[in-house]
Symmetry: none
Subunit: 380 residues, 2 copies
DNA sequence: GCGTTCCGTGAATCCATAA
DNA sequence: TTTATGGATTCACGGAACG
């Protein structure tokens, strides 16, 4: 395999270079092997249309973590994510963002993705360097990893910052494309996308090739929104080349920086196999809107149903009281609207929404009618 | 009306003050009129359980920027002044967060809400001051304002940072209450809630009383998750008193700082009208961690489980015998229900209560169910 | 072949308490 | 302060295994 990969790598490196005004060739559709800061220093000023960066997050993980079933959580323990202090991380961030800003065309823009570990440092430094933040985008993960110990809220999202080179930039934003992609509604700042798994996840010898591979759908939306066909996209932390693969599919040129040989090899093979999309296959990329689901607790905290309210069922045969956290209490039992309903009836299951009733304006109605009211208020 | 409000204000100010060890009375359930930094300076160290802050983020808006002391900052639009604006904002943020940290009890925590204009500055400074970020929470607005010009993504969320006073803090997190509130699924870091509108939105003379009034549902979830009944909650930017109203409803004490007389008046009237929930509906689902402990040996000596009983685990893959002292014996090993379970699986740890099963009336049940029976018998 | 069940796993700052 | 021990704790999805 190694030979075949090297052949392909050679072919990739021989890709036609773009010639700029300054007569400096831009090494387009190639992976630059090495540290991103020194590699970026070799590139000419104002030559890049868009930068997508997935820098190390500086996770600062503690000891091992086990799931409730005892299995081991495979954490990000790579050396490239280790920094001795915030000051060191800030210095690193300032350096690569300074180079990034130099490389951007005046109307270019940059995307950086991160988590609460690092994104506040990144955002602050972006602002300090003169970038102009356009949006912060929330990637709401459809299937995040749970919080196994029950100690915090499930960390179910990552944050992307989108910023132009300066306040004056006439940046690219394909408003119509985004609206079309979102069923004719304006694309919002929160994007629901699954994490990268299944056949899309790159593996070597059965184990994941990279610990933090991003889903192509994420890059697809980023590139479709903020670049045009033929633009040059730079990714300073190329990894296994998601940026390159999506750029090729969408007819954009790309440049990647990467230090690790293993990642480079995987990325080259992957991009070689990536095919430009035709119009018909674009359709399958559109994400469905998921049906709204309402937790009973949401009605309580939104004031649609006050804690202490009496609910009845089966014409008053059963009664229960709403508690502050959205649980129900009967004489002897506590449970969810579904669980308590089932328990009281001795039934295996119960739809609490239609089982429990509440008196509202002299009328006894199923609590499901409150859910409908809530949905009306929440939609749009 | 003004007279009635003043009467109520007087009554509020006469609320019983909590007396601390240091013999300094904490002005509980009162609004402190004045700049939050100077008002906070009057309060004693380590006296507050939780802080909720909705600080101003009046930068980059082309409008005025006021320094903490109220003096005016010239809003010139060149780069140099942009930096100076950030520096002023950072200084202000550092000052009030420093006071906030001093006031927090060692196990206290803080919430700060903001948007991309200021939240990166806030997060960075929180980290620099030694706060320990626990989650960043996305308030996903169900009904955001559209982007009228179609130049960016619809800004459809705000970000909250939840941080403990230090890395070592044993902060409050009511895991079970949150899980109950979310239909028995872990509460995630993205919260879908409507913006504050309709009858909840406070108005004076037909116009909204405050430009950024937060929905009570947001504070409800924050307080239910990270405080206990009787805790003291401080809000340095009290505005129209959403924090106070929800605190009163949920049986928490509160302190607010506010400079503007108009807001104070509206807030006092509002909190006066808020109804506290009664005790019983305030009770939330408790985690097992806070339940009384039962030694496995107690089940044996009480006859719930006879010595010699065979226990199984993982569908019969593991078996062990109960011994008279409450230890378990497998073929080659002896240990506690937890220790033996861990050893047999080669796992670092194991919850024996859910791991081991016993046949009882033809059904195979975890021995935890016996513990529940035992607890029922022992209670009362 | 098809439906069911089981198992693996993902950017994670992931325990509390007594001795 | 450190160490040992009890025992609390998970959601969605893909793919393999099974019947």
């Amino acid at each position: 395999m190694a030979v075949a990969v090297k052949e392909r790598a050679k072919a990739l490196r021989a890709a036609p270079a773009k010639v700029l005004k300054a007569d400096v060739a831009l090494p387009v559709n190639q992976i630059l092997r090495g540290d991103c800061i020194s590699e970026m220093r070799k590139l000419p000023d104002a030559s890049i249309d868009m930068i997508f960066a997935d820098p190390p997050y500086n996770l600062q993980l503690g000891g091992d973590l086990a799931r409730p079933d005892g299995s081991h959580v495979d954490a990000v323990t790579n050396d490239w994510d280790k920094f001795s202090s915030f000051a060191v991380y800030d210095q690193f961030t300032r350096e690569w963002l300074t180079e990034a800003r130099r490389l951007l065309k005046p109307d270019g823009s940059i995307w950086v993705i991160g988590s609460y570990h690092n994104i506040f440092r990144v955002g602050t430094i972006l602002q300090d360097l003169g970038f102009w933040i356009l949006n912060d985008i929330i990637w709401r993960k459809a299937n995040p990893m749970p919080n196994f110990k029950g100690t915090r809220f499930t960390n179910a999202h990552e944050t992307l910052i989108w910023a132009s080179k300066s306040e004056k930039s006439k940046y690219t934003f394909n408003y119509r494309a985004m609206k079309t992609l979102n069923d004719e509604l304006q694309m919002r700042s929160d994007w629901v996308l699954p994490i990268c798994s299944g056949p899309e996840r790159l593996r070597r010898n059965g184990t994941k090739a990279h610990p933090t591979q991003k889903p192509e759908a994420l890059l697809y939306r980023v590139m479709l929104a903020t670049t045009n066909k033929g633009d040059v996209v730079l990714d300073p932390f190329f990894g296994t080349g998601t940026t390159g693969a999506v750029a090729k599919r969408l007819g954009r040129d790309w440049i990647g920086c990467e230090r690790e040989d293993d990642y480079i090899e995987v990325a080259q093979e992957r991009i070689e196999l990536a095919l430009p999309l035709d119009e018909s296959s674009l359709v399958t990329m559109q994400s469905k809107r998921s049906a709204p689901k309402v937790a009973f607790g949401a009605l309580v905290e939104s004031g649609y149903l006050a804690p202490g309210t009496r609910l009845t069922a089966k014409k008053g045969r059963f009664t229960a009281t709403v508690r502050a956290d959205g649980s129900l209490q009967s004489d002897a039992e506590i449970g969810s609207i579904h669980g308590l309903g089932a328990k009281l009836q001795g039934a295996p299951s119960c739809n609490g929404w239609t089982f429990w009733h509440v008196e509202h304006e002299g009328e006894v109605k199923p609590i499901d009618s409150l859910r409908q009211l809530y949905l009306l208020a929440v939609e749009d």
